[in-house]
Symmetry: D2
Subunit: 283 residues, 4 copies
């Protein structure tokens, strides 16, 4: 069933919900999911409205223009999305295969609504996995000296194929602002700690040193500041003094796979709205 | 800030969301929380809309009648509630004090928006606790022979004081249909298992026998069938072979307190809609 | 580092712990992990002792006989295992690929210490996955009429290859006692409910009907009674009225993968002792 | 049933487990719980052995001296504790009553094996609660100017009554080194964040600002560095963009009560060993 999603941000004011609902109702549409949020601290209003396109009298490209008067009246920023849209995605990975393998396996099972165009890695290890799934694989080794070059190649690949979303499936290289700035809120990273605790390198080592009783992982959008971008999803698992760093790493791997998958699903279903450095997730 | 909550159930159809939103907007009201749910299996639509009463032009008693034409048009069942309403509550407990003590402590801290009118128990144990909180305490001992009499006394107490909500804070007597039928969806029980597993007597013993790796608790509305009513909230805790029945009981007590408190809060904030034998909780 | 695991069951009595520890110490061995459990209700004692083989003066095959006098004295049942043992495993799956794919991916990453000898399925779907991982694939379709034949073929495959452990990675056929009895406590199943709730068919449908607020999964050893075997591991995830059966199924799939992997790891590391219809898991 | 707990720390070496087990067995004692841990990074060995005193031939005061030769041989630091020991405890609280109320309610129900000698607060609010439970209440108001004086009064109270354990049940004053140094690993604090995230002031505000998807709490021993002491226990709860700071605070309160209770129980049952800035909790 094809559906349309309106994702709206506006200054809060009376009549917003009615105006959007009327737009759908006046065209005879049926809302199948609607959720909204009023952020007290900023006075901003966020809404996600999903309605059935079956029988809707407007063509897809007509919906935005038809909605424009409503948006103008209330000062809304609005995005018009369609649930059968399939964005062009690049997956980046380093040595650890678990997040990449999970994502590909889910994708093959039809659970990831994305057009995975390429896998890029700084190691050659995953070429056969990519081949099995029929996805082009680019191995771009990197050293401190070649980092600028490697990033230029990476950017060229992303742009040549009109990539819309980048998924860092345990890609252990820091992306430079050149790349980050091209994909605002369109690079999803999985960081293997419960941010803001243990940002930066070797989080499981840090967690072990501090003696925490739970380890966590965080999926977030990448911004210029390392591990500081808007958090999409987090989860934790219980550990004890028994787990050494290696075992924390293994325990964490299970979390990483699942939290990245969950965050990606939220993104692909147009459920995430970024507000400042935070997200509203209409789960 | 006083607010009004409309709790709506209707057959799903286009225009419902707009109609309710327009009702609020046409009176210049501001929606501060709205949530809805379309149940695919029954075709029913559920909505909770909360709006600011400050500056709203209708008096409280005028809102229902003013909304009636909308309700009629769409075949809505609607309840009009106010967030500063404080229902008259009776708390029933047996020997175990933890749920009762927690509820009273939270209530005193201003976190339970209820008018706790009485504590009733089949044991005299909690009289001093009740006295400390300034709440009348009724000790109604019960034996198989006196059960009918005891229930008649209990019902008389509830009715004399116009009780609107009954909270079973580990009250270990089965209420007869006479009482249950008087309070449809207005008796909340905390059952110490993850229902439907381990319904009936001695759930921690049953859980221990079966060797489960998690224990759970369930807050639900009481219906004529024991432990079969609509579930409001559940939670679990990890256990292992190490815990004997006594330790499971202690671990579970922490869960019981918190899950009962959470379910009660949902109920008091008019967040729960019963649909058949299930609940929609607009949390 | 090669290690030996002694897994001991005995009637509880003073001196047990000392006797086992002395056996290791008297040979100059170093205990690197020891855990024990005294079950009050049965008076049974369970112990898992893992010690370093590096420098241990006895050859592997000499350890059991050397320990026999200790075992005899205390009436111990003892199993002698080695951590680098790699049992011969068959994985059975039906249509849903997620548990199978996860298991193979983990196995390839070196995280499953098993010799996966074959994948058997009642559907042909996973042949290419098996080929990618270099594992023989047997497609054994089954109908009510051919069930006995199919099981005979299955059993022949298992026996011909000396399979020691069978993993049911969402294999949706009920194994007959003929097979179950050959592999006591050596068939691990993942059931997609929080047992004992929702045993039998279509557990997510049952969970949706009952309106539970958490869904769960259970890894257990298979016994003659369906879904009644000793529980190895369980976990749950929060759901709400929003999830329909399809979404519960998807949410549950993440749990199934991880709980099966965890149970399998416990088994392979010789951490599970079955006691009656329960397990002691020395995690 | 009276039991003795030996809590042992030693450099790891072969024979340790056997030596302790033999000590108990040679006196005809029966070990009812034993757990040990070898910390790879430090090479330290930790053990907790609990044995039945019923029929044990040594008097309580004789056990330590009798064990001394074993301790000497292996360089063990050993503590001899008894499970019916009831330490003298002071509970400190500020305005928020929930942790204090919970602790007292549990204590009255017989679930906290402590001799609660006094409640000290910088506000007078909890005097009637203390009176209800029959515990002396000391209201010691504090301002920046009077902090030194107030602490001197506090310390005098603690010392005059031979307090052995201090529980900070949401006591919002920073204790000076003078007090902290007197009670090494004997002051338990509940911090309302998932440390090391959000140390310091207003953690729920910080959590809200950062947009985390889980909030947490941490029970830890107090050391000279604020919120840096050894972590005993942690837990988390899921939140979303919907919760404002006030609601995070309320959600967190439930966690705080339970995590503090759990940490206190571990401490009172002699299950916690501090190792550097971490804990081994033999739960």
């Amino acid at each position: 069933m094809p559906t349309c999603v309106l994702r709206i941000t506006a200054p809060d004011q009376p009549g917003l919900v009615a105006a959007v609902a009327n737009f759908v109702a006046d065209h005879g549409g049926n809302i199948i999911h609607a959720d909204q949020h009023h952020d007290e601290s900023t006075g901003r209003f966020f809404q996600r409205v999903q309605f059935d396109l079956d029988g809707f009298p407007l063509a897809r490209h007509e919906i935005g223009p038809a909605f424009a008067p409503v948006a103008d009246k209330f000062g809304m920023a609005v995005e018009v999305r369609f649930c059968d849209e399939v964005p062009r995605v690049a997956v980046l990975a380093s040595k650890a295969p678990h997040c990449l393998a999970e994502l590909l396996s889910d994708w093959r099972a039809g659970e990831v609504q994305a057009d995975i165009r390429m896998i890029v890695s700084n190691v050659p290890d995953h070429a056969d996995l990519a081949a099995f799934y029929g996805i082009p694989y680019h191995s771009l080794p990197v050293t401190p000296e070649t980092k600028a070059d490697q990033e230029a190649q990476l950017l060229a690949l992303l742009e040549a194929d009109h990539i819309e979303l980048v998924v860092l499936a345990r890609y252990m290289q820091i992306l430079s602002p050149t790349i980050v700035d091209r994909f605002p809120n369109r690079i999803i990273n999985i960081h293997h700690s419960f941010l803001p605790a243990f940002a930066g390198a070797r989080p499981y080592f840090q967690a072990h040193e501090r003696g925490v009783k739970l380890i966590g992982v965080t999926a977030h959008y990448v911004t210029a500041e390392l591990d500081q971008g808007p958090i999409i999803e987090q989860d934790v698992a219980r550990v004890s003094h028994r787990e050494n760093v290696k075992e924390l790493t293994r325990r964490g791997a299970d979390l990483e796979k699942i939290v990245l998958a969950r965050a990606l699903r939220y993104h692909l279903e147009h459920r995430v709205v970024v507000s400042g450095n935070k997200t509203v997730v209409f789960a």
